[in-house]
C-alpha cells in the first residue's frame, strides 16, 4: 500500500550545499540537500571521478540496492569491479537530481516554513540540476570530473555539463537522449502530468499536507510513459495479444490482455516509490530542455571547439529518444570540431535497452572510457 509519508530518508547519504542555489526561473533555493551514493575510491589527485546521472524515475542507487525501496541497483551490468565503469579504476558518484524524491531537495521536501513545498517548489531546469551537481562536486573537493555518463534524462545532464562547464568535464557520455525535447516527448509527458493533476487526491499539489497521495493519476502517468520506453516489437514478442489468466476475452474492462496487466503492474509498483509532484517538476525540466536555444538554434555553436571528448550511444528501436535525435547531437559535435564517437546499437528492446544487456554497447563504453583514462593518466 502506498505510504502517505515521504520516503524514509535516514538511510541516505546527504550533503547540504554550502551556498544558496540560483535557478533559471529567477528564484533562489536557500537550502539544498543532495542525496548521493558512491563506489570505488578517489585517486591521489582526485582526477578519476565519474558522475552517473539518472533518468526521470531513477535514483542515486545505480550500483547498489536502494535501502529505502529495497529495489536492486539499476545499472549493475555496467558499474562495478572490472566492468565498463570499473570501480577499481574510477571513483563513481551518483546523485539524486534536484527536484527528485530520493533525498535531494524537491517538491516533497520541507520548505523553510516547515511544510512540504508541494507546488510552491520553483520550476527547475536540467541546467539547474547540473548547477546543483557542480556545487555538490565542488563540496566533495573535486575540481573536475573524468566523465559524466547518463541515459535518457541523464544524457541531457551529460550534455548540459559539457555545455555549462567544459573545463570541468574530460569526457561526456550521453546515451539514448536528446538535445531538445520533441513535440512528441512533451505531448507524452503532458498526458502524464494531466493524469496526476486530474486525480482528486492531488489536492492542487497539497496532498502531503492533507495526508493523501494521487496514486491513480501517478500510475496512469507511468503507464503512458512506459509505453514509450519499450518498442512495438518488444511488446509483440513479450505479449502480442496474449490473454491474462483466461481463455477468452471477458466482455468487460478487466485486464483481459497481458499487456494491460503488465502496464497496470508498472503503474502500481511505481506509485510506492515516486512522488507525484516530483514527476511534474522533473518532466517539466525535460520539456524545457533545448540546448540549441542558447545559440540561436545552432547546437554546434554551443560546443564550438569544446575540449570535451564525447561518446554518444543510441538504440535502433528507441522511439522515445530515437537514433535520429542522438545522431543530431553527434552531427552538431562533428561540426563543432569536437572529438566524438557515436554508435547506434541494433536492439529491439526500445528506449529501455540502455539499461539492459547489450554486449557491444558495454564493450564500446569500456573501450571509450579506458582509452580516455589513459589520456588523462588514470
Amino acid at each position: 500500500m502506498p505510504d502517505n509519508a515521504p520516503p524514509q530518508t535516514s538511510a541516505l547519504r546527504v550533503l547540504s550545499l554550502p551556498e544558496p542555489l540560483k535557478l533559471d526561473c529567477g528564484e533562489t533555493l536557500d537550502q539544498v540537500e543532495i542525496a548521493y551514493e558512491s563506489w570505488g575510491e578517489p585517486n591521489a589527485d582526485r582526477s578519476n571521478a565519474i558522475l552517473i546521472c539518472h533518468a526521470l524515475t531513477g535514483d542515486q542507487f545505480a550500483a547498489s540496492k536502494n535501502p529505502v525501496t529495497g529495489r536492486p541497483a539499476w545499472w549493475p551490468r555496467v558499474i562495478g569491479p572490472g566492468l565498463a565503469i570499473d570501480t577499481d579504476r574510477y571513483y563513481v558518484i551518483a546523485t539524486n537530481v534536484l527536484g527528485g524524491c530520493m533525498g535531494t531537495t524537491g517538491p516533497a521536501s520541507k520548505a523553510p516554513d516547515g511544510k512540504p513545498y508541494g507546488t510552491r517548489f520553483p520550476v527547475i531546469t536540467i541546467g539547474d540540476m547540473v548547477r546543483a551537481q557542480r556545487a555538490f562536486i565542488a563540496a566533495l573537493g573535486i575540481d573536475s570530473l573524468f566523465s559524466v555518463i547518463g541515459g535518457s534524462m541523464g544524457g541531457m545532464q551529460a550534455l548540459e555539463w559539457a555545455a555549462q562547464a567544459p573545463e570541468q568535464v574530460f569526457t561526456s557520455v550521453p546515451i539514448a537522449t536528446s538535445a531538445r525535447h520533441s513535440a512528441q516527448n512533451i505531448a507524452f509527458y503532458e498526458v502524464g502530468r494531466q493524469a496526476i493533476m486530474a486525480d482528486p487526491d492531488w489536492c492542487e499539489g497539497n496532498y502531503l499536507a492533507e495526508g493523501k497521495r494521487p496514486s491513480r493519476g501517478l500510475a496512469i502517468a507511468r503507464m503512458a510513459a512506459h509505453i514509450t520506453y519499450v518498442s512495438e516489437s518488444a511488446l509483440k514478442r513479450k505479449f502480442d495479444r496474449g490473454l491474462q489468466d483466461r481463455e477468452k476475452t471477458s466482455f468487460s474492462f478487466d485486464a483481459d490482455f497481458q499487456v494491460e496487466s503488465y502496464l497496470r503492474y508498472q503503474g502500481h509498483s511505481f506509485v510506492d516509490r515516486f512522488d507525484a509532484n516530483s514527476y511534474l517538476y522533473v518532466t517539466r525540466a525535460m520539456d524545457y530542455f533545448d540546448l540549441s536555444s542558447r545559440s540561436e538554434g545552432r547546437l554546434a555553436d554551443v560546443f564550438r571547439d569544446t575540449p570535451v571528448r564525447f561518446c554518444v550511444f543510441s538504440f535502433s528501436s528507441d522511439w522515445h529518444y530515437p537514433p535520429e535525435a542522438n545522431r543530431e547531437i553527434t552531427r552538431a559535435l562533428i561540426a563543432a570540431g569536437a572529438e566524438v564517437s557515436y554508435l547506434d546499437i541494433q536492439s529491439d528492446k526500445g528506449h529501455d535497452a540502455f539499461l539492459l544487456e547489450e554486449p557491444i554497447y558495454e564493450k564500446a563504453l569500456a573501450g571509450f572510457l579506458s582509452a580516455s583514462a589513459e589520456l588523462r593518466g588514470i
Partner: protein, 201 residues
C-alpha cells in the same frame, strides 16, 4: 618489437605515408585495424567513420574514436582542414557518390590517401574482351563495388577535384610495391590494387 597481430601489408604501406602525430580521419574504417596501427606506430590523433554498427562497435571497444555514420552524407559536417590526412582504404568503390566523398575529403584534409581495386589490371581487361563480362562481377557485387575504376580514372577524378597524385604504389596479393611518382601506365596495367597518395594542389 614483435607485433603479434598480423598487420596487413597495405595498411603498413599506408601508415608509412602518414606523418608522426598527424590528425587522421579514416573513412570506412571498419573494425579500426588501420587506425589502431596508425595510433600505435605513428602516434596519430586517430578518428574513424564507419557505416556498420557491428564493426564500428569493435573499433570503439578498441578504444578508438569512431563515428557510426555515412560518408555519403556526414563528411560535409567536418570543418575545413580539421585533419592533416584523410584515408579511404578500400572504401571509395563502395560509396554511392565517390566524387563527392573525395571532394569533401580534399576540403577536410590537405592530404588524401586512397586505396582501391584497379580495374585496369590486364587480366581484368582480358576478361572484358574475351568474355564480354565485367571482371569478377560476383566478387564486385558481394563487396558492394559500385565504381569499377582504373588507376588512371581515379587520378583523373582526383585532379578534377584539385588533388594531385604525389606517389602511387601497386598491391599484388600480400605484396606492396614501392611508392613512386611515375609509371602510371605500368601500374594501371599490372596492379591488382592501388594506393594513391594525393595532395591538394
Amino acid at each position: 618489437m614483435v607485433e603479434q597481430r598480423t598487420v596487413r601489408p597495405d595498411h603498413e604501406a599506408i601508415a608509412g605515408r602518414v606523418g608522426q602525430g598527424a590528425r587522421v580521419l579514416d573513412v570506412g574504417c571498419g573494425d579500426g585495424a588501420l587506425l589502431d596501427l596508425l595510433k600505435s606506430t605513428r602516434g596519430v590523433d586517430a578518428r574513424g567513420l564507419e557505416l556498420s554498427s557491428e564493426t564500428a562497435g569493435i573499433a570503439l571497444a578498441r578504444g578508438l574514436s569512431v563515428i557510426q555514420g555515412d560518408a555519403d552524407s556526414d563528411l560535409e559536417l567536418f570543418p575545413d582542414d580539421s585533419f592533416d590526412v584523410a584515408i579511404l582504404s578500400q572504401a571509395v568503390q563502395q560509396m554511392r557518390r565517390p566524387a563527392r566523398v573525395l571532394g569533401e575529403l580534399a576540403r577536410i584534409a590537405p592530404e588524401v590517401i586512397v586505396s582501391f581495386r584497379n580495374y585496369g589490371l590486364w587480366s581484368r581487361r582480358l576478361t572484358l574482351i574475351r568474355q564480354g563480362r565485367m571482371p569478377a562481377p560476383g566478387l564486385a557485387h558481394e563487396e558492394g563495388v559500385l565504381l569499377p575504376v582504373t588507376a588512371l580514372d581515379m587520378i583523373e577524378l582526383a585532379s578534377r577535384l584539385g588533388l594531385a597524385c604525389v606517389a602511387m604504389a601497386p598491391v599484388r596479393g600480400s605484396a606492396v610495391g614501392e611508392f613512386r611518382n611515375k609509371g602510371l601506365g605500368r601500374l594501371n596495367w599490372g596492379a591488382d590494387e592501388v594506393i594513391l597518395h594525393l595532395k591538394r594542389i
